[in-house]
Each structure stands twice: as structure tokens, then as C-alpha cells.
Amino acid sequence: MPELNVKDLVVEYTTGGDYKVRPIDGLDLEVTPGSLTILLGPSGCGKTTLLSCLGGILKPMSGSIHFGDIEVTGLSRSALTDYRRHTVGIVFQAFNLVPSLTAEENIAVPLRAVGVSRHEARARSRELLDMVDLSHRIHHRPADLSGGQQQRVAVARALALDPPLILADEPTAHLDFIQVEEILRLVRMLATGERVVVVSTHDSRMVPLADNVIEMAPILHVPDRPPVEVKLAPGEVLFRQGEMGELVYIIEDGQVEILREHADGSNELLRLLSSGEYFGEMSPLVGLPRTATARAKDDVVLTGYTARAFREQASDFAGGGPS
């Protein structure tokens, strides 16, 4: 029984050759066969990144991914191609059907890639189109299909080689509610037998269907508390880029440097804030990691507020810096 095991997974990459982003930092995950797992979270929280890693498309910085006997993170390039070919079926957010091919031919692509004869590939494609209720659309090209129909063809393509692991990236993102219902039913149906289905979404309508729900962005429950006074010596770091943040800071005295840490280890000064200005509001407000590092330029006195306390006083403050 193939079980999906992810241990201490870290993915870090450089955005635009500029600064490093770590969307996944120490993720552990265990998924049992025959289950539907939903990765839930807002854009940018690492859902697609995790799917890419599970699909052998993106190599993590550290940690391990095991699917059954296969150590995905240890596979060579050619072995990864083989893994993607035989073990994984992927349903993409934008359907990603080949526009020049008919529905039947799109489904046949993975079959032909492994050397299945044209005749057999056609028979299997038709069987799958029948399964997704599209047997009347065999010879239609993607442009002639609705969004829901295209996504069903994409699901059929993912199932072509009957892979034990199905990954679906926002499968309902481009669909109306009627089409969503069709896809939800189909996705639920896939998680049968020994098959593992992992779906990334920010569509909470999928949650009741799931066997497991993984919150990709941590929900910060910061209890209301009185403002905190913080004193920093020159050069002392208040918070680092990439850390989750709980408080918004207002400078009472001194100067604070807001720095962007680049991939090459250098720091770029984004802003120099002084007394009366605030910074670090976005992370506690929207639940994303800090996008810059805050460091004291000289002796600094700050007051830290929770997001709610900050909102109450927001109109009184001037300025602001990266969160």
C-alpha cells in the first residue's frame, strides 16, 4: 500500500534572481492510501510548491519525500521522468490541454509516451472519456470544450496510466459553481482503492470532502494583550525576513533600518524609519511571513501592538514600512 510521507521538507528559491523565499519550511506530512488530502491556504503559501515537489518536478532544499518504496527526493533526473510517467498523474489549474489535440488525443499523450500502441491508447482514452461523461466530445479540441469539460479531460489524462498518486492544483479555480460540483465529485471519486489524491486549493467548499486537510499558512491566534515596549541596542535585529510576525511596531525613539536580504547574502536598505513611524503591519494582519528584516540603527525604543490594537489606533500613525 503506497503511503505518502513527507519529512522536514524545506523549499527555498530565489525570486527573480533577487531575494530568497522559503515557502515551505520544515513540513511533515503523512497521507494514507485511498485518501483525499487537501492543501488549504492563500496564494503564495507554498501549496503548488509542495505539489511540484510531490510530483518530482521541483527539488527541495532539504527533507525527504517517500511514496511507497520510492524515495522521490533521491531520484536521478531520468528516474524522476520515469516516476512522473508511471507514478504520478497531475491535474493543472489552467487545464493545460494541448490546444492542437482533440480530447481523445490529449488523453493519449501519456500513453503514447510510454509506448502504448495507438490502438490501445485510443481505446483507453475513450474508456476514460466515458468515465468522465465526455464520450460525446471525443474529437473536440480544448477550445470547443467548456472549462469544466476541459478539466474533466485533464483529470482523464491524469488517470491515463492509472497512477497511484494524483496531484491536483486548484482544480476548481477557473470554473463556475455547476462545473465545480462536477469536478468535486470526480476528485472525490479518484481517492479510492490504494490511490492517494492530494489537492491544493483555497476553495473551502472542498474541505468537507477531504480525509485530511493541511493548513499551509499557519493561523496566528494572537491573544489581545497590552502594548509591549521593546528596547534594541545598535545593530540588534528585531525580526528577520521570512519569520511569521505577531506584532506591529511603532518607533518611540531612535532609527530602524528595514532591510531586504538578497540571495547572495547581501542586504539592501529599503527604508530608514524614525520616531513616530510604524512598520511590520502586513505579517500579523494577513498572516504572511515578514518580507524584510528590521534592525536597530542606534539605540531604539519601540512599542509593539497586536493587529487589533494597531487597527484601533491606525489613523493616528504616520508612515509605515515593509511587513
Binding site: T48, L51, S52, G55, I57, L58, T81, D82, Y83, R84, R85, H86, V88, G89, I90, F92, Q93, N96, V98, P99, S100, L101, E105, V109, P110, R112, A113, V114, R118, R157, A158, D169
Partner: protein, 347 residues
């Protein structure tokens, strides 16, 4: 992947057809240029075949019996005929000339020889030279069989004509007697440019030397050397243009299909399959264009003012070269396709 490549061409049929036409036009020009270059050689070989001489005796300072000739005294003919190893010797005169035809001045090439002897050809129509005042000619510029032509102030009866007897890119050959040509060119002086011989002289030639057919060929081709170099250069440029057109078509295709290639890779299609699909498109484009180019070139050829030959070698080599050029031209697109990150499929 071959089916996918073909389907993609169907999907972008209009662009593919335009590309085939563009490449075909360039290849047609390439074929025509190659045909012109080939015809320059063929004309010379055909003229030498018509003259029917394998060895000439020329002045020791001459570089050939035609364009490179140095005038000799006609008395040398008897001297050479008497040499051991020489079985026959006949005077030859070569003289490029401008004919005043009804349609205006026309370049012709005059060959003088002894009527009915070595060095005077047998025409395709009519009879050979028998007497002075007769001429054999390519039937152009009013020199049709049985007509009378005025050349250098003399009247010539055209007693024989050729299907193809031209040189230097369509300039007509005219064969007259040595005596007639000496009157036209040298005011009747006993001047010749070479002695056509049979056999091989075994004695040393005083102030003279022998040249063979290969030397004579080189002598006739020499004025065309720069023309042929220019044609070769233009051909290379046209091949580069062909490669660029095919390359840009394939590169654009690779750019537009980046997402498709990413999806293919994400679902386990190998790089080799992606690569072969694009190369197949390039090869198909070049083969279809080469076929169309042959047809276009054949249609263009009659409109050219110079002879255009279509030797089999050209018709075989052009498609083969087109395939090679297309594969080279498609490398940038192929490289791009192969380097597409499968993660792009999630984008």
C-alpha cells in the same frame, strides 16, 4: 510525439503554409543560381565537344587556346603538322565579337577553322562548313538556318545550326572558316590563335607548347571566375536566409508551445521526444519547401536571360541540404524547448 508535431502543424496551418512558401521562394532562387552556375560549365563543355579537339599547340606565352591566346603566324601550322607524333594539324582562330543585329548590338563568339577539318563542328541541323562565306551558328539574332547574316562587313550563309551552342551565359557561338575570320579580325593577315592537332608531338616545340582539353576548359571558364564566386556567395547567403527562416519559425513555435512542453515533461514525456517533434516539424517544412522550390525554379528558369540547367545533382542535393540546414536552423528552438522547466506547467 510525431502525431503531436503533425497536429500542431495542422493547428497552425496558415503560418506553416506561409513559411513553406517563403522558404520555397528562397530555395527556388538558390536552385536557379545553382542552375546558372552549372549551365556556365555545361556551355563550355558542350562547346568543346562541338569543336571536337583534345590538344592544341599555342604560343609558349599563352595561357590557353581561347581567351588566353597569343597570336601566332599561320605558317606554324605546316611546321607543327611536320612534327613526329602529329597526325593532323589545323588552324584555329578565336575572336569575341559584337554583332549588329536587327535588335541591336549582340555579343557573339567567333571560332575560325578549316572547313570540314579538325576543329570545325558538325551542326545539329543543316550541314558542316564546306566553303568560305558559310557559317554555323546558334539560331539567334537573325542567324536562322538558310538565312544570310552580316558579320564584320561580310555576308555569311547560315548552312548549319545548333540546339545549344553558347558560352559565357548565353552568348551565341558562330563558326566560320579561318580565312573569313582572319579578314574580320585581322584585315586578312595570316594570324591564328592556336593549332588544333591530333596525336602528340614527340619533338620539342620551339616557342610553343601543347595544351589539353582541361587547360582549354579552364581558359574558357576563366572570365566567369568572379561571376561564379559571386553566385557561390549568394548561394551561401540564401542558405543562411533559409536556415534563419526555418529557425525563426521553429523558435517561435517553441516559444508559443513552452507551456505544452512543460506539461509534456510534467507528465513524463522525455526530452528526446520533445526534441524529435520539433525537428520533425523543421524537416517537414524544409522538404515541402524544397519540393515546391523545384517547381518554382522550373517556372522561373525560362524567364531568365541566361541559361539555367537543372542537373540531377542539384535536384537531389537541394532537398538534402535543406534538411540539414533546417535541423541546424531549428537548434535554437529545440534548445529552448528542451530547457523548458516542467514547473512552468503549474504557472
Amino acid at each position: 510525439m510525431f502525431l503531436i508535431a503533425l497536429r500542431d502543424l495542422q493547428f497552425r496551418l496558415r503560418r506553416f503554409v506561409i513559411s513553406v512558401v517563403a522558404v520555397a521562394l528562397v530555395l527556388a532562387l538558390t536552385i536557379v543560381l545553382a542552375g546558372v552556375a552549372a549551365s556556365l560549365d555545361i556551355e563550355v563543355d558542350r562547346t568543346l565537344d562541338q569543336i571536337g579537339v583534345d590538344t592544341w599547340v599555342v604560343d609558349s606565352n599563352a595561357s590557353g587556346p581561347f581567351f588566353g591566346a597569343v597570336p601566332m603566324n599561320e605558317a606554324n601550322v605546316e611546321q607543327i603538322r611536320a612534327l613526329d607524333g602529329v597526325t593532323e594539324a589545323q588552324p584555329q582562330v578565336f575572336y569575341p565579337y559584337t554583332l549588329n543585329s536587327p535588335s541591336g548590338p549582340q555579343s557573339i563568339t567567333l571560332f575560325g577553322g578549316a572547313p570540314g577539318e579538325l576543329g570545325t563542328p558538325h551542326p545539329d541541323e543543316g550541314r558542316g562548313l564546306e566553303n568560305p562565306g558559310e557559317a554555323l551558328a546558334q539560331p539567334v539574332h537573325g542567324m536562322q538556318l538558310g538565312s544570310t547574316a552580316q558579320i564584320g562587313g561580310k555576308s555569311f550563309k547560315i548552312v548549319g545550326t545548333f540546339h545549344d551552342s553558347t558560352m559565357l551565359g548565353g552568348i551565341a557561338n558562330v563558326f566560320v572558316s579561318t580565312q573569313d575570320l582572319q579578314e574580320i579580325a585581322f584585315k586578312g593577315a595570316p594570324v591564328i590563335t592556336a593549332v588544333a592537332i591530333s596525336g602528340s608531338p614527340t619533338q620539342p616545340l620551339d616557342g610553343m607548347k601543347t595544351v589539353d582539353r582541361a587547360d582549354a576548359r579552364t581558359d574558357l571558364i576563366r572570365p566567369l571566375k568572379s561571376v561564379k564566386q559571386t553566385i557561390s556567395l549568394l548561394s551561401v547567403l540564401l542558405w543562411i536566409v533559409t536556415g534563419c527562416i526555418i529557425g525563426s519559425v521553429i523558435y517561435l513555435s517553441a516559444l508559443e508551445r513552452s507551456r505544452d512542453f512543460a506539461v509534456f515533461k510534467a507528465i513524463g514525456v522525455s526530452n528526446m521526444s520533445v526534441l524529435l517533434g520539433l525537428v520533425l516539424q523543421a524537416v517537414l517544412l524544409s522538404v515541402l519547401a524544397a519540393g515546391a522550390a523545384v517547381l518554382i525554379a522550373r517556372l522561373l528558369a525560362p524567364a531568365m536571360s541566361v541559361p539555367v540547367a537543372f542537373p540531377t545533382a542539384i535536384l537531389v542535393l537541394v532537398p538534402i541540404t535543406a534538411v540539414v540546414v533546417s535541423v541546424i536552423g531549428s537548434l535554437a528552438g529545440v534548445r529552448r524547448a528542451v530547457r523548458v522547466d516542467p514547473a512552468l506547467a503549474f504557472g
